[in-house]
Subunit: 306 residues, 2 copies
DNA sequence: AAATTTAATAGGAAAAAACGATTTATGAAT
DNA sequence: ATTCATAAATCGTTTTTTCCTATTAAATTT
């Protein structure tokens, strides 16, 4: 359908209001001829008469008045669209779709979400927990605004900000021969007792990378679906596993018969980062979010230390 | 405020929907470069980013989606404005502001309004009763769409259509010496007994014009405010007066002790017409209305004759 | 009758919109 | 790794639209 322009509608509104082409033109900051022609074109486009005019007088027709009312509404909606566009968003407000990998999510979120929620009350977080490659796919598709992942990982052309570093620990059943002592080198671990997360979890790859053992993966006797179930199995004496520091700090470990020892290998073993598309339009919000999480994490640990 | 054009909004809606400049351009029947530039200008006008784009992919921002929704609404309102403009009005429908002079109104309207109302159910008549010059003033100001007047009268540049003709009668008290007989010449009337409507009523001037007596007006003993009161006075024996045929036909005469005689002077003494501005946009409606009134009047009289 | 007001119109200048061609960047395929 | 294909941005040009100035024509007022 052939639509009139907003300018034409504005001219109509003004001339209907003033009933005078010259004055209306002045108010619209154009000449009378411009206005006159514009109204004629509008009338011809609509195929109706909007104004009854002699050389002396202008009287809007009934239809002209009705359409001017509608036009006013349209213009005012457009103005409100412009205003809507220009409301300065507070930092970290509105919807934010955040993906988190499963080996970070249950340990990180309880530590930082309360602080984020209270610091940015107008932020509406939509959380999605999935493995790294799925998160990256959704991120690329625009279904997520950002994601929390663990490095090292090839992020392609994505931008990111590291906000935390941590090492891995080895978890033994409390009564395991190796359960006591300080840092332990990964070569000394009984490979055949090693329980690992199923494929796709980056924690599995990271842990194996730290230990320089790719082959050993094959020997792993069980592939767990989550760190929680894995820990249950360790507590049950069915093997040993790697845990990130975050998890060890967690309450749920305390309730199980488990002992942990640091890995002797130099860290940091993994880095937590917030990732986003290069073209993402609210990068500053995300940088702020990452900073905020670092701060909250640090606060959380220093509090536990007391 | 600087507003975006409807065209820009339409481009935005399309590109947000398709997430692809090329396809959106095709759907809008323009080239990709046109669309690309238009969106950039819109973004710059609004001062915000509406689309997140790489060379490969387009993802609307949250704001882009919201504004596209608003834009859709604005466009659809504009479309509905165009449609509203193009609904073919039924003949004689909608508002019509009609002025009628007091010496026609009470006699004509009861005869024609029921027929008009039933024939044109969607017509909303707004009636105003006033003297000719006031009606013409309001007509010129656009406060009335048309008016029913009596000719002869100088209507200036107005257009009109005569729909009825009638003569004047003389009304006597039933017991007046001249009350009986056929046509009577105005010279034989007792000028000092003549009761007339106050100045401004065209009936007064018309009657005097028919009788070729201007001077006689000065002798008129009383100036009535309406034909009804005038008739009451005649019935009370206080004098004689002129009445248009329409009024004589009316029921209210029968209830009074009044006799009427035609004037000997050749008619028609006055013509009833519908007047409108030359530039008025619904002339055909008014011509139809006039025709309709003629028909209804004729029907009304032929029915009385039976 | 002359002067004034006001909408329409004509012609030309300025601005905006659109196009075609090219460039640049990014995935995908070889 | 190189080439190919895709897609958005950009550049220069053409077309279209918009607007302006000046004038005309009609209707009032002086």
């Amino acid at each position: 359908m052939n639509l009139p322009t907003l300018r034409q509608l504005h001219y109509l509104v003004t001339v209907v209001e003033l009933c005078h082409f010259g004055q209306a033109a002045e108010r619209c900051f154009v000449t009378q001829s411009t206005l006159s022609t514009a109204i004629q074109e509008l009338e011809s486009l609509l195929g109706v008469q909007l104004l009854e005019r002699t050389k002396r007088k202008v009287i809007p027709t009934q239809l002209g008045i009705e359409l001017a009312d509608k036009a006013r509404e349209i213009i005012s909606m457009t103005e409100s669209l412009v205003l809507d566009a220009q409301i300065d968003r507070k930092p970290l407000s509105g919807e934010l779709r955040l993906g988190v990998i499963p080996t970070i999510s249950p340990f990180l979120l309880p530590k930082v979400l309360p602080g984020i929620r209270s610091g940015f009350a107008e932020l509406e977080l939509y959380l999605l927990e999935d493995q790294t490659h799925n998160l990256l796919e959704r991120l690329a598709a625009g279904e997520l605004d950002c994601a929390i992942l663990a490095l090292p990982f090839d992020l392609g052309g994505l931008e990111y900000q590291v906000f935390w570093q941590e090492n891995f620990l080895v978890a033994f059943p409390a009564d395991h021969p190796l359960s006591q002592g300080g840092p332990i080198a990964s070569q000394k671990l009984p490979g055949n007792e090693l329980l690992l997360l199923e494929k796709g979890h980056c924690l599995r790859d990271h842990a194996l990378a730290v230990c320089h053992m790719k082959a050993m993966a094959k020997r792993a006797s069980f592939q767990g679906t989550s760190l929680y179930t894995l820990v249950q199995m360790v507590a049950g004496g069915q093997g040993i596993t790697f845990l990130p520091e975050m998890a060890v700090d967690d309450d749920f470990l305390a309730q199980n018969q488990i002992a942990v020892r640091p890995l002797a290998e130099k860290g940091p073993h993994r880095e937590l980062c917030l990732v986003w598309r290069t073209a993402y339009h609210r990068k500053s919000d995300l940088a702020l979010l990452a900073d905020c999480m670092r701060g909250l994490l640090a606060a959380s640990y220093s509090q536990k230390a007391k």
